[in-house]
Amino acid sequence: MFNDIRGFFTLVIYPLQSIASMPDELGFWLDSQLNSHQSLVDENKKYRAENLLLKAQLQKFTSLQAENIRLRSLLKSSRKLQDQMLIAETITVDLDPYKRQIVINKGLLSGIYAGQPILDAYGIMGQIIHPGIPSSTAILITDPSHAIPVQNNRNGLRTILYGTGSANFLEVQNLPNNADIKEGDLLITSGLGGRFPEGYPVAVVTEIKRDPGQPFAQITAEASAHLEQSREVLLVIESEGVSKDSSAEREQKDEP
C-alpha cells in the first residue's frame, strides 16, 4: 500500500525532476545538433562497419541457437531463449549521495514492475525497486544494499557479488582463499534467485588479495555496464510462460 502511495506521488515529483535534468538534456541536444557534417558521416561509417560485424556474428549465433534448441529438445529440457526488452531513458537527477540509484522515465504506465532487471549494452545495471506512475527508481548493482548471484564465465564457479557504494566497484566477500578465480575473469549472472536472467555479463575481476590470515579472499570487480554514463537502459520483460518454463527446468534439474 505504501508503495502505491509512493508511486502515485511520483506524479508530483517527476515534473520537478524533469526540470532539474533539463540542463543536461539541453547539453545532450546541443551536442547532437551542433555536430559537423563530417563527424556525422564518420560516425555513420563507424556504425555501419559495426553493424556489419554484429550481423555477421549474429548469423553464427542464430545457427548456434538453433543447435541449442535441438540439443535441448533431445534432452527434453525447455529453456528461455530470448528476452523481451523495453528501452527507457535515465533522468539525470541526484538522489541520496550515499545510495547508488537512478531514475528512469518509464513507470507503471509502461508495465514496469518491482524487481525488473535493467541493463545497458555492456551488462547488468541493476533492478527496479520502486515503480512510480510516470517514472521509476532503480537500484544499481553497486549500491551497498544490493547483491547479485553470479557465476564465473570461465569455470562456472558460483558466488554472490555485493555492491560497495563506490562508483563502479563491486566485491565478492565469501569465496575461500583457494577458490579458482583469477584477475580478468568475467562474472555473468547465474540466474539463481530467479530475478536476473541467466548469462548476462555483470563485472570483471580486477583485484584479488589472498591473505592467509583471513578466511576469505578479498576480491574486487569492476562493473561491465557503464553505470554512471548510460543514457538508454534496457528493461527485461519476463512473460508468464517463460517463468513457468524456467521453474519446470529447475524441477527437472533437481530430479536426478
Partner: protein
Amino acid sequence: MSHKQAYHGGIVILFSFAIAFILMMFPLAQELEIYRPKLVTLVLIYWCIAVPHRVGVFTGWIVGFFLDIHTDSILGLHALSLAVVAYLSYKLHARIRLYPLFQQSFIILLLVALSQILILWINGSMGEVRGDWFYWIPSLTSTLLWPWLFYLLRNIRRLYGVN
C-alpha cells in the same frame, strides 16, 4: 489582509519550495555532491520564522514527504525530521528573528544537524551505516549559505507581500 493577498503569498511559498527541490535534484559531479546544502530545510526554516502562522509542522511534514519520494528513502524519514525542525523553528521564531545573522547561523547549524541526526538514527536502526564525517558537511555548507538565503528570501517576501 485581503483574501487575494493571502492566496498570492501562498504561490510564492510554493514556488520557493519548488526551486529548492529542483536545486536539490540538480545533478552535480560526484566530488561536489557531498557539499550540497540542505536547501529545502533552509527554505522551510525561513518560512517558519517569517510567517509562523502559515508555515509550520504540517508544511514541514508534507515537504519532507515529497523529499522522501524523491530520494527514495523510507516514507516518513525526511517527513519526521523536517516536522521536528519546523516545530523547533516555530517555537523559537520570536527569538531567532531578533538575533543578528551571525548568531542566526548557529541556530541553523543546530537545526540542520538535528535533522541529519534524526535521519542518521532512523537509517541506522534499519541497518544502513554511514560512518564517515563527510555526512555532516551539508550542515556546515547550509550554515554558510544561510545569510545569503535569508536576504534573498526576505527581499522576495517583501516584494510579493507574503505575510
